[in-house]
């Protein structure tokens, strides 16, 4: 299997207004592998996900895709990049006013001139792949959360993307549905060689599907490498995350008073 990197993240910094949320993020995303980005809630993994999918603007020189700088992409280049990727959002992000069939067929209708019958067959194949073949005529409001995610995955895969980005595939799902999604992700990598990036905080799922793991904390990369390397990491924060230990309560008294009293504390 090739170990070439399809995406290179080099010193990525990210801000919301003046608040910095990502600090000097650097790691590669190898082609045809499953890279899992994990970390506690609020560690910046969803912001990173938004940079990788082009939803948040990236400064020049910080993310390279096939050797080209995402930060200087024109609108046309960004559109071309997005035709190569599939994205599964945390909620599935299905369009409420369209049936599952219409949701999944939408990219084909917009980007191709395929005959209606061909589109119908392709849609049915993808629905079949995620186990929803009988639900094509249902509206998103008529199906469960897990089914929405699976339908979202079918839509993300309808254009046969080279890269698949998945945000929190297991969150809010029962263990059986979550395991089913994990198996689908593994199958995609093995049978089609799709490059997959998964953002999650579910340890079990992460270790099961990952070829490469990236652990984030407080906007920084704590560790990255093969699952075994992460499992054997000596970093205390990584160990704490892996052993699911709660943060011990530590509050600096001076900072506490300043937060309570503001400027009066200093005056």
């Amino acid at each position: 299997m090739s170990t070439e990197n399809i995406i290179e993240i080099r010193g990525l910094n990210s801000f919301y207004n003046s608040r910095q949320v990502l600090f000097d993020i650097t790691f590669p995303i190898p082609v045809s592998r499953v890279t899992v980005i994990m970390g506690v809630s609020g560690c910046g993994k969803t912001t990173l996900f938004r940079h990788l999918t082009g939803l948040k603007k990236t400064a020049p020189g910080q993310i390279g895709i096939d050797g080209k700088d995402l930060g200087v992409y024109s609108e046309t280049m960004l559109m071309a990049y997005r035709r190569r990727i599939g994205v599964l959002f945390q909620s599935g992000a299905l369009f409420n006013s369209l049936s599952l069939n219409e949701n999944i067929a939408m990219p084909l209708h917009v980007h191709t001139d395929l005959a209606e019958e061909t589109i119908r067959i392709m849609t049915l194949m993808k629905l079949n792949m995620v186990g929803l073949a009988e639900f094509g005529d249902y509206m998103p409001s008529q199906i469960s959360g897990g089914m929405k995610k699976r339908a979202g995955l079918a839509r993300a895969l309808i254009m046969d993307p080279e890269m698949l980005f998945v945000d929190e595939p297991s969150s809010g799902l029962d263990p059986i549905t979550a395991a089913g999604l994990d198996r689908l992700i593994q199958n995609l990598r093995q049978t089609r060689g799709v490059t997959i990036v998964v953002v999650t905080h579910e340890l079990e799922s992460a270790f099961k599907i990952a070829d490469r793991l990236v652990v984030m904390d407080d906007g920084r990369v704590l560790a990255s490498g093969a699952p075994e390397e992460i499992r054997n990491s000596a970093d205390p924060r990584v160990r704490q995350f892996l052993s699911r230990e709660a943060d011990s309560y530590k509050m600096h008294m001076e900072a506490y008073y300043e937060r309570l009293l503001g400027d009066q504390w200093r005056g």
């Binding site: 919301y16 999918t53 082009g54 939803l55 559109m79 071309a80 997005r82 035709r83 990727i85 994205v87 959002f89 945390q90 909620s91 992000a93 299905l94 369009f95 409420n96 006013s97 939408m106 990219p107 209708h109 917009v110 980007h111 839509r155 254009m159 980005f165």
Partner: protein, 261 residues
């Protein structure tokens, strides 16, 4: 002293930024006319929602407004022995002013709020992000069909409103108050000319652009400035869409009237 100045400066910058974004939103919406996806089916669907489903509410509003105009007009005109001008008074009021404005306000309340809420929900549920990730232009997909549908529907609704209002006025004036039918129609046809109809038409087209533009814009950016995406942001976007669209319609009405009269 610095803090109020800084706050004022920040406020001014935010307003300039919002104005620029509103302008660019309109440019992107118009650009959507020549970009995929196809507009025919979504526009027809929106015409059905914005236009066809507004017929009943506009019909009731128009009929009762015409009836009230006839009642009020009759009692004023009889003081001067000029009740024969009732048709003229009802017709001119409706065609020039009340028809376009009432239709626009009804469409704002019924369809503008729904447009803002629907697009706002798409924003908070990441559906707009999903559109972008599928390389589908969200302006072209969401805003352009609604703009087209509004521009097609509102002039038709306004014509319907004018006709039903005049009919309501006729029923009260002629049927109830005893004004001569011939005097009513001759007053109407001699006073209302093509210029008045054009004015009403121009107004309704301008109002339709304003309603679609402001309502889709408010929904599209629901919660974006706050960085928070929840039901509260959708509710606020919906309220702002209705209030700002209504005020914009009334201001625009004055401007067009002052130019065309």
């Amino acid at each position: 002293m610095v803090n109020p100045v800084r706050s004022l400066g920040a406020y001014a910058l935010r307003q300039v930024y919002s104005a620029g974004r509103l302008g660019m939103f309109f440019v992107y919406t118009v650009r959507g006319l020549i970009r995929p996806p196809g507009k025919f089916r979504p526009t027809v669907k929106q015409i059905q929602f914005i236009g066809a489903k507004s017929i009943a509410v506009i019909g009731f509003t128009a009929a009762f407004t015409g009836m009230v105009l006839a009642l009020q007009g009759y009692h004023t005109l009889t003081r001067f022995g000029a009740e024969g001008w009732l048709g003229s008074a009802v017709g001119l009021s409706l065609v020039r002013e009340l028809g376009p404005v009432l239709s626009a306000l009804m469409v704002t309340g019924r369809a503008g709020s729904a447009m803002a809420a629907e697009i706002g929900i798409m924003r908070i549920e990441e559906q707009i992000d999903a559109l972008e990730c599928m390389a589908i232009d969200p302006f072209s997909y969401l805003a352009t069909p609604r703009l087209l549908a509004c521009v097609i529907s509102l002039p038709l609704l306004t014509s319907f409103c004018d006709a039903l209002g005049i009919l309501g006025g006729y029923l009260i004036g002629v049927g109830l108050l005893g004004v001569s039918s011939g005097a009513f129609w001759s007053g109407l046809t001699s006073s209302v000319d093509w210029g008045d109809l054009y004015m009403g038409l121009i107004k309704s087209v301008c109002f339709s652009v304003l309603i679609a533009w402001i309502s889709t814009y408010k929904g599209y950016y629901a919660g974006v400035d706050e960085g928070a995406f929840g039901p509260e942001q959708v509710g606020r976007a919906t309220t702002e869409a209705v209030v700002i669209s209504s005020i914009a319609v009334l201001i625009c009405d004055y401007v067009i009237t002052s130019i065309l009269l």
